[in-house]
Symmetry: C2
Subunit: 304 residues, 2 copies
């Protein structure tokens, strides 16, 4: 594949940035990569493992001369980073991000962007419970979806080039408006994470059941929740603070449904429970058929 960008700058070097850098290298998609991170330790690790061609001390240095800038910081840090890099952005550069919330990023970053750059927010729907520059791997985006939320009037060529780089690193690309993105993600990601955090918190909190019992007997279902509840706390704090309305709406729906099932249990309404539990099997089948999860028992964990 021909090189799509001459220089890609990553601001923030966590799981997503490091996976993108490795996937771009795998695909030979870009001529040069630079990167920076706020923490000196992260920069040292990135240098040690040669994650990008050049690690810089500041974001301003990283973006100089870059024709693609990828903001890979928590959503709450986007505004400050945008203000810092704005004076240093090259004419014609594309600025994108990988934040989990899109309206808030649009609002935080957009006003800082000079007219001579293309600002196209994005969100790869991929990740693991691991964080940091060592967590990245080139296959993270293979067969996953990336959603782009280009503002009205976005340059078609810039959008096309960004789309092709995502495809080049393995992803499929969809375009939607930021508010719809935030609602879809509230359903498929933000509310599930909050619920997983809550369930793990409840277990950790109980006095009559000890921690060691919870841990020993977690294979009965609980452990599936703990994976996503081990995700990066700063990132998730920012998600809930910035996608407040959609998350609260879906949470309201969730609570309503949960109360209906709770009532069925209290009343001994087995038919209601059986019908509900039958319906939910179909959506699992849909996810497997769409290639978004494995059909292997227990996610293909090592017990088999």
């Amino acid at each position: 594949m021909t090189q799509l960008y001459q220089r890609v700058a990553f601001v923030g070097l966590g799981l997503i940035a490091s996976s993108m850098a490795l996937a771009m290298r795998r695909g030979g998609l870009v001529a040069e990569t630079t990167g920076t991170a706020r923490s000196a330790e992260t920069r040292a690790i990135a240098t040690e493992i040669a994650l990008v061609d050049r690690v810089t001390d500041t974001a301003a240095q990283a973006v100089q001369g870059a024709d693609l800038v990828v903001l890979c910081v928590p959503v709450g840090a986007m505004a400050a980073v945008a203000a810092e890099i704005a004076p240093h952005l090259a004419r014609g550069a594309t600025v994108t991000d990988v934040g989990s919330v899109k309206q808030a990023v649009n609002d935080a970053v957009g006003p800082h962007m000079p007219d001579h750059v293309h600002f196209i927010p994005g969100h790869p729907l991929a990740g693991t419970e691991h964080s940091g520059p060592r967590a990245g791997f080139a296959e993270l985006f293979d067969n996953r979806w990336t959603i782009l939320t280009p503002p009205d009037g976005t340059d078609a060529d810039a959008l096309d080039r960004l789309t092709r780089v995502w495809q080049g690193i393995g992803a499929q690309v969809d375009v939607m408006d930021p508010a719809h993105h935030d609602l879809v993600l509230a359903v498929t990601s933000h509310t599930p994470h909050l619920i997983a955090y809550t369930m793990v918190g409840v277990a950790d909190d109980l006095r009559r059941v000890t921690d060691s019992e919870v841990i020993k007997y977690s294979a009965a279902g609980f452990r599936d929740f703990t994976r996503i509840a081990a995700s990066d706390p700063t990132m998730w704090r920012d998600v809930f603070l910035t996608n407040k309305d959609a998350t609260l709406e879906i949470l309201g729906r969730f609570t309503e449904e949960l109360f209906a099932l709770q009532r069925a249990i209290r009343r001994g309404d087995g038919d209601h429970l059986h019908a509900y539990f039958t319906r939910t099997r179909a959506i699992r089948r849909g996810i497997i058929d769409a290639g978004q999860d494995t059909d292997a028992p227990d996610f293909g964990r090592s017990n088999r």
Copy 2:
């Protein structure tokens, strides 16, 4: 290993029974196995794949001459099965089960058991989202826990022999009283399953987010919930109907915690969220260190 039982009879031939039969064969633990199931189709499959040495049409036939009888039917079916087999049980036989609730099984089965058999309820904390006789595999119980809840006065030799057969098929064995078992399982299994069912039901129900969007974008977290929400509906209906009190108690705790987090989101209390999300990471680490889950990203799914 020496053979621990001369004839083991499985009543019900789903995931657990089929895995036990295969694991017993792997370990050379028993001389002969028999089995039956209510559905003719299940019996035909069991015969076709030679899951046990002899498939019988009725439970009464299956248990004749068996020195170990394993009840592998949904909890709601236990009483009827116990009544059916009671007159046919051999003197000195051990009767156990694999139901997910123990007080209810004790109450349903115990009164039917003749004095000349040893009744020792049990529950292997292992399973997958797949059901039926073809779903079994010999490794299911390796490094998992099985909890036995022997009634007061249980014969020590019978308990020891049953313990050794579970160890022989890979499991570690704990003993506790049935009420505590049911509370522990309400935390580690029953409530998580109900919550997963609810979350999947909510997603499936929404009109503004389409099913295909939920499926396409499920890798952002949602898909972790769908695995356990695809488990056998009849089994889970019976779990909630028979472990009502403990499940409702833990659900109450869960709702309380969820409301506290919801309030933090509404008020923009980032410190509360961050502290909560940091605490839940530790329990994941405990589960991995205890060998009850993999540390591989995404449960080691095939994307890596």
